[in-house]
């Protein structure tokens, strides 16, 4: 009996509500917005009156943010969907249809879809900030006709913070991760579904606050927020700190669910050796977050204490500004591995299916990901070789360069998988291969940053900017798009238009490399990052980079339109268009609301990436025994 037949017998009402969209369904989202802004102004205004200060000053803005966050959460449906019942109140109805996307919901699939939409919107705005930066750099001094130096500083700070914490940190973990985690493990939902739902609802207020920070004075520290500049360059820094702390909290709520679900909720027969490789990537990333985030989270809050409560952790007579650097980079370098480990794992999910060959050296791939997580957790201090003692330098240089060894395992596993095989190239596979190429350049150029003598020359130049864009944009965002194309049929039940998807893949690859490969040159030639004005001899290179980046940015309209049109009118997808052995592809498309209703559970008898000729199917489906 086919797997869909088994599910079909028991799905019934658990497939999800069939109600058509109505504008009234968006009411919780509208209510949350209204309550959020109202509570913000109420909190800020009352505090300003009580403290005899202005509403835009640090303390009223902080209190306003906390009130606003609580108002937003209350409006989202958190109260009736969780808090009220937790205190013994009435149960709220369960929304299984379209409305679950617009309110607090414990469905991990709805949460994941919201993550994707949020990431797209945040990427758009943070990308517009990038375009503003590149317009500025078209000429050596554009402050007369474009952004002032202060506005320029604010713009690159917002761009960096938003791209890292509102986009790259959650594009793969939030979208693909939370959608696929339970499905790949053969369970209906994650271990704490409500906490996972909350993780998404923390994102919008933090993001809005960061974007709005110029309205209360902005911040000019970049996304680092280093004191004592943080305390002396605009009240908007409190929105930066609060946004960073909120976004970190959101990430940790997701991380807790990833690790807890993997350890405690695998399908019958799914030993650790049979856990899908993508789940291993998620777990490696989540482990970093749980262990490393507290130091950085505490750093953000201590920085805030200095600003609003008069403490002197980092400033004043007892302050140690360098302590902030240690705390900040304690997580925020390993955070790079939080971004990229799930991307690595996606390569290793997609490539075996695309080549119909078993994943090469599976255990080495897992060891590689755990190795990157472990070694990578210790390397944050390499970001400030120019400000540390000579004793620490060789230690952190060696540790940083050691990360390339487990990373090499992962690359070798990917190459070994496709070696000698026939890769069936679709847009997702193409983007995966491009991401591998890009990240290779990002990784190899990173070795120069990790090397102390070279770093003294390259530190704080455009070399560094080009390097990390190769890892983040070139590695993670390419993989994000690959994941969107690969799993689009499973989420929507429709196929993506392959021509336009491939067209954009090439567009993206060409203009990405024209932008960032060329950007290494002004870096070597000594162009400092984070300056609005540069020397005239660097103009031709900057013009080239800026114009390439405009094409790169404009190109994102192609996938935006393609995905929307494909969702509305694309060809209907079959259950398993890629011939994958992964469990989610054995469910109907789109995934039903309850993915494994009682009576259609699976037993796992092998890893999901063994495509060797004659290999048995990795899952055995129980015969349907409908409970109703």
């Amino acid at each position: 009996m086919a797997t869909t037949d088994i599910q079909g017998q028991v799905l019934g009402e658990t497939e999800g509500g069939a109600d058509k969209f109505a504008w009234s369904m968006t009411l919780p989202l509208v209510r949350a917005t209204l309550w959020g802004f109202t509570a913000y102004f109420l909190g800020a205004w009352i505090t300003a009156i009580a403290a005899h200060t202005l509403i835009v000053n640090a303390l009223p803005a902080t209190v306003g943010y906390v009130f606003g966050l609580l108002g937003w959460l209350a409006g989202s449906g958190l109260w009736e969907g969780w808090i009220r019942r937790a205190f013994g109140g009435a149960e709220a109805p369960v929304y299984t249809g379209v409305e679950r996307y617009f309110r607090f919901s414990s469905d991990s699939k709805a949460t994941a879809v919201r993550y994707v939409i949020f990431n797209v919107i945040a990427f758009l705005f943070a990308g517009l900030a990038a375009m503003a930066i590149r317009i500025q750099l078209l000429t050596p001094n554009s402050t007369g006709w474009w952004l002032s130096e202060v506005q320029y500083n604010e713009t690159f700070g917002i761009h960096g913070l938003m791209m890292l914490l509102a986009v790259v940190s959650s594009v793969i973990v939030g979208g693909a991760g939370f959608y696929l985690l339970p499905l790949m493990l053969g369970v209906r939902n994650v271990v704490y579904p409500r906490l996972l739902g909350l993780s998404w609802w923390l994102l919008p207020p933090a993001t809005v606050a960061a974007f709005m920070s110029p309205l209360i004075g902005g911040f000019q520290t970049g996304w680092w927020g280093y004191p004592p500049l943080a305390q002396n360059s605009g009240n908007g820094i409190v929105f930066y700190v609060l946004a960073a702390a909120t976004l970190l909290t959101s990430s940790v709520l997701g991380a807790v669910n990833i690790v807890g679900t993997m350890i405690y909720m695998r399908a019958k027969g799914m030993s650790l050796g049979r856990v899908p490789i993508f789940v291993w990537g998620l777990v490696a990333a989540a482990t970093i977050l749980i262990v490393e985030a507290p130091a950085t989270f505490t750093g953000a809050v201590m920085d805030l204490s200095d600003m609003i409560l008069g403490s002197h952790f980092y400033t004043g007579p007892t302050g140690h500004p360098m302590a902030y650097l240690d705390q900040f980079w304690w997580l925020f370098h390993p955070e790079v591995y939080v971004f990229v480990l799930p991307a690595f794992a996606l390569w290793l999910e997609i490539l075996p299916a695309a080549t119909q060959r078993p994943l090469f050296a599976r255990n080495w791939a897992i060891a590689g990901m755990l190795g990157v997580a472990m070694v990578g957790s210790l390397v944050g201090a390499h970001h400030y070789f120019t400000a540390m003692s000579a004793t620490r330098m060789p230690i952190f240089m060696t540790l940083t360069e050691t990360v390339s060894i487990p990373t090499g395992f992962i690359y070798l596993c990917a190459i070994g998988t496709i070696w000698g095989g026939r890769v069936k190239i679709n847009a997702a596979v193409l983007l995966t291969l491009m991401a591998m190429m890009n990240f290779l350049i990002g990784g190899l150029t990173g070795l120069f940053n990790a090397d102390v003598p070279a770093d003294f020359q390259l530190h704080n130049t455009y070399w560094v900017v080009a390097h990390f864009h190769y890892t983040m944009l070139g590695g993670v965002i390419f993989t994000w798009l690959a994941a969107l194309y690969w799993w689009f049929p499973k989420v929507t039940g429709r196929m993506v238009n392959e021509f336009w998807a491939k067209f954009h893949a090439w567009w993206f690859f060409i203009f990405f490399n024209l932008t960032f490969l060329v950007m290494f040159i002004p870096g070597i030639e000594g162009m400092n990052r984070r300056v609005a004005i540069y020397l005239p001899y660097l103009r031709p290179l900057n013009e080239f980079v800026s114009i390439s980046s405009f094409f790169l940015g404009a190109g994102f309209l192609i996938p935006a339109v393609n995905l929307f049109v494909s969702w509305r009118s694309g060809k209907k997808a079959t259950q398993n268009p890629w011939g994958s052995k992964s469990l989610e592809w054995h469910l109907s498309s789109p995934t039903p609301y309850v993915p494994f209703p009682e009576g259609s559970e699976v037993t796992v008898v092998g890893p999901n990436d063994n495509y060797a000729a004659g290999a048995p199917e990795p899952f055995v489906w129980n015969q349907a025994t409908p409970s109703k």
Partner: protein, 184 residues
């Protein structure tokens, strides 16, 4: 199928999973809490004023150690399914938690405010206080659920177990760090 049943179906984790996975948020929050305690040493430890009065702190430590009794009792009763007795111990624990909250606020007057030391002490205490407020809310939620909808309390015993685990984490952190702090 009723919506409530779908809701239960879509929260499929077993009690073992719910309790076991709670280790991870506890680990995260413990490291943060430990960081606040350690901040006192790193930033203020060398300048503890001689006039600082730790009497309230000692009393709170004794109270925290005393709370191990009702905490363990509540857990045993939960495991045995004696919910009424478990709720009684949770209520006792709630009383202790409220006292600790009041005590922490009282310590703000026990150290000279305005000095560098006083500022660091008060702020770290303030952030630690949030943990105890969280504990109070968790205990209150379990009690109210147990009084109003016992059936739900019974089907979600893992919540009360996790609240007790969180309290145990607070006892451990407070005791270890206060003793070190006091001796130092």
């Amino acid at each position: 199928m009723a919506a409530e049943n779908i809701g239960t179906l879509m929260d499929p984790a077993s009690e073992r999973a719910k309790r076991g996975a709670f280790f991870f948020p506890m680990l995260f929050t413990s490291i943060i809490c430990a960081a606040w305690f350690l901040a006192r040493f790193l930033w203020a430890g060398t300048s503890v004023p001689k006039a600082a009065d730790f009497g309230v702190g000692v009393a709170l430590t004794v109270l925290m150690l005393f709370s191990i009794g009702p905490m363990s009792g509540a857990r045993t009763k939960l495991i045995r399914g004696e919910d009424a007795a478990a709720l009684g111990r949770l209520a006792a624990l709630l009383g202790i938690a409220v006292l600790v909250v009041v005590g922490i606020i009282a310590t703000w007057w026990a150290v000279p405010i305005g000095t560098g030391y006083g500022g660091i002490y008060d702020i770290t205490s303030g952030w630690i206080l949030l943990y105890f407020v969280g504990g109070v809310l968790g205990l209150l939620a379990s009690l109210m659920k147990g009084k109003q909808v016992l059936e739900r309390f019974q089907s979600e015993r893992w919540v009360a177990h996790n609240v007790l685990s969180f309290w145990g984490e607070l006892v451990l952190l407070w005791t270890v760090f206060f003793i070190v702090f006091y001796i130092a």
